[in-house]
Amino acid sequence: MDIPKDLFYTENHEWTLVEGNEATIGITEYAQEEMGDVVFVELPEIGDVFEQFDSFGVVESVKAVSDVYLPIGGEIIAINEGLFDSPELINEEPFEGGWLLKVKIENKDDLEELMDYEDYAEFLEEEG
């Protein structure tokens, strides 16, 4: 199971890449495997503002719907429009082409609520 070391993680299996004041958000390899083939993604609009752990959209497979929650609060500054035509990117490259959106970080303290890769790996193991 691929768990990149430079990312932060949530118990809901979202990952966060922090670059300066921006964070890129996606779902992890584990999450996409659990979901199966992703067929549809619903994302917010640019300019929408969310608090940490707000639900901002859904990822759907044929027989499952999963809410996705924002690991870091702030304003949405970009969404991955490529997913509308190619939701399979989430399965194929969950940590790259399958990113969901970018957020302007409101408060860096939010990061303290997230897991690093070691904690996440341990969390996955406990989850079985």
Binding site: D37, V39, F40, S61, V62, K63, P87, E88
Partner: protein
């Protein structure tokens, strides 16, 4: 189609079932100018008048695209399509929760009688007294079977019935000036329960079942408070297990002022043995297309009558069927003398209905009964459908009940439970049985042993199709991993059950001996395993 089964090792040879030729769409048979209908000539003075003189020019349709085919094209096309289908008449249909029993043919004949079917919904009540009498008796029978006080036949499906029942509960509390927002649903419930509760404007609280697959009393207590409008239950639950603490549960809910809703999907398990009304349920819905043998039609029409206790009667939808008699006591219990002033009403004398040997209708003044739709119901939740519900389905259900009688209904339940328990006894060693409790008309197995060997429940289901048998309900209830939910119904005999059991055992062996055969199933159906991911990603929803 020339599919190949690569596993030559397998001793199982399957014959192709149904029609495996791919069938074009009806539009592909279309040929410009071809016709399949016959209509009389228009014999009117205005027959040659331009359409633009009869309709506004800017509202004239320019183009209508529909097939142009002959009658024989249509007959062959849909006959070929029917051959790609599987119905109860094709064989066992052991879908748990769905009660796929045999659909008696006499019901179909009765529902098609011209005198019963060729009726307009706005025809005067006096011109449809025969039908109204049948509906009234159906209503009475359903009330008796369920132990409720009044029944509406209007909801057109089980989910529609749930919605109706929950609206009644909502209106009841509104009228009492109480704002209760919560509806509690066990995690083993049908998906329609939470969906109906949400649609009726409630917040859904899901509670976890206990280790025996029943309502966890402690979990229930935790969520019970003055804000609870109702608890929705089906008993026996979706695991086929009877909630033995039902009286305790009902007391807990009633003690906080909440009501009990009974999901009637599993009524085939209790007819003549237990009545939801006696278990203190306040509202319930029936599924005439499950318990009462009306055909599912490939997904409808169904019918979902709702029964209530006396105190909820004012909230039932408009209109409500009632009877008026000329005797001092009117049969609807109002004590008012019947009035026949409405000119819209034909008050001709009604002949005596047949006298039954039980004398169940004794004491009623048959000659003078007049059936009417009551629209004057100020506290009602309103209307759920344009007319009176799925009348044609009600006729079939009535015909079924009338044919079976009290004993036949009880016998039905007994044999449904016998069949299910027999299958469970024969399958529980081969497949994991997650809940050991006694079960009634259905039971749930888990395919986890098979999953460990590499074949999922979905694979097992698809492999069953290869043997010409329909699959059980799978992956439901959600509380069981790799669930296989089996409900044989009373109309299957031991030979059919044995055949299904043997097939399940063979598949379990195949999973070890020739796994690919199972994993790539089905092989002999009119079409192979379909790509649902592609269907969802590249939506193609019409020609």
């Amino acid at each position: 189609m020339g599919k190949q089964i690569n596993e030559s090792k397998s001793s199982i040879k399957n014959k192709a079932i149904g029609n495996t030729k791919s069938e074009p769409l009806i539009i592909e048979y279309s040929s410009s100018g071809r016709k399949g209908y016959s209509l009389p000539k228009i014999d009117l003075p205005n027959k040659d008048q331009e359409l633009s003189e009869l309709l506004p020019q800017n509202y004239l349709r320019e183009e209508l695209k529909l097939p142009e085919v002959s009658e024989v094209d249509v007959v062959r096309h849909y006959t070929l399509l029917s051959q790609k289908n599987y119905g109860v008449d094709s064989g066992i249909y052991p879908l748990g929760s769905c009660t796929m029993k045999y659909n008696p043919k006499i019901n179909e004949d009765i529902a098609r009688l011209d005198k019963l079917s060729n009726l307009h919904p706005y025809q005067d009540e006096g011109l449809v007294q025969g039908s109204l009498e049948i509906l009234y008796k159906l209503k009475q029978n359903l009330a008796e079977i369920s132990g409720m006080d009044e029944v509406t036949l209007q909801p057109a499906s089980g989910a529609h019935g749930e919605l109706c029942g929950l609206m009644i509960i909502k209106k009841y509390f509104e009228d009492k000036g109480e704002e209760r927002k919560k509806v509690i649903v066990p995690d083993s419930a049908h998906g329609t329960n939470p969906a109906s509760a949400a649609m009726a404007g409630f917040d859904v609280i899901e509670i976890e079942s206990n280790e025996e697959g029943m309502v966890d009393i402690e979990n229930l207590k935790e969520v019970l408070d003055e804000n609870v409008a109702a608890l929705m239950l089906t008993n026996p639950n979706t695991l086929g297990i009877f909630e033995k603490d039902i009286i305790k549960i009902s007391e807990l809910v009633h003690n906080v002022g909440g009501l009990l809703y009974y999901d009637g999907a599993n009524m085939n398990a209790i007819m003549g043995y237990v009545r939801p009304g006696d278990m203190n349920f306040d509202v319930l819905h029936f599924n005439l297309h499950k318990t009462f043998s009306t055909p599912h039609g490939g997904g409808g029409p169904g019918s979902g009558p709702v029964g209530v206790k006396e105190f909820l009667k004012p909230y039932l939808p408009i209109p409500l069927l009632r009877v008026e008699t000329n005797s001092k006591e009117s049969a609807d219990g109002t004590g008012r003398d019947a009035k026949f002033n409405d000119n819209n009403m034909e008050c001709h004398e009604i002949g005596t209905t047949s006298i039954d040997d039980n004398g169940a209708y004794d004491g009623e003044n048959q000659e003078k009964d007049i059936y009417k739709w009551d629209y004057d119901r100020p506290q009602s939740i309103g209307k759920l459908q344009a007319f009176y519900g799925n009348y044609g389905v009600m006729l079939k259900a009535y015909s079924y009940i009338r044919k079976l009688g009290a004993n036949g209904l009880k016998e039905t339940t007994e044999n449904a439970v016998l069949n299910a328990n027999y299958m469970k006894a024969r399958l529980k060693d081969e497949y994991h049985l997650p809940y050991q409790e006694n079960s009634l008309h259905e039971f749930v197995l888990s395919g986890i042993k098979q999953k460990e060997k590499g074949s999922s429940t979905l694979n097992i289901a698809k492999r069953l199709l290869d043997y010409g048998q329909y699959a059980p309900t799978i992956y439901f209830p959600l509380v069981v991993k790799e669930a296989l939910m089996i409900e044989p119904t009373e109309t299957e005999n031991i030979k059919t059950l044995n055949k299904f059991v043997e097939t399940m055992k063979i598949i379990s062996r195949e999973i070890e001996e020739s796994p690919d055969l199972v994993k790539n199933a089905p092989h002999t159906t009119p079409i192979g395993k379909l790509d649902e991911v592609k269907a969802a990603r590249e939506t193609n929803l019409r020609w």
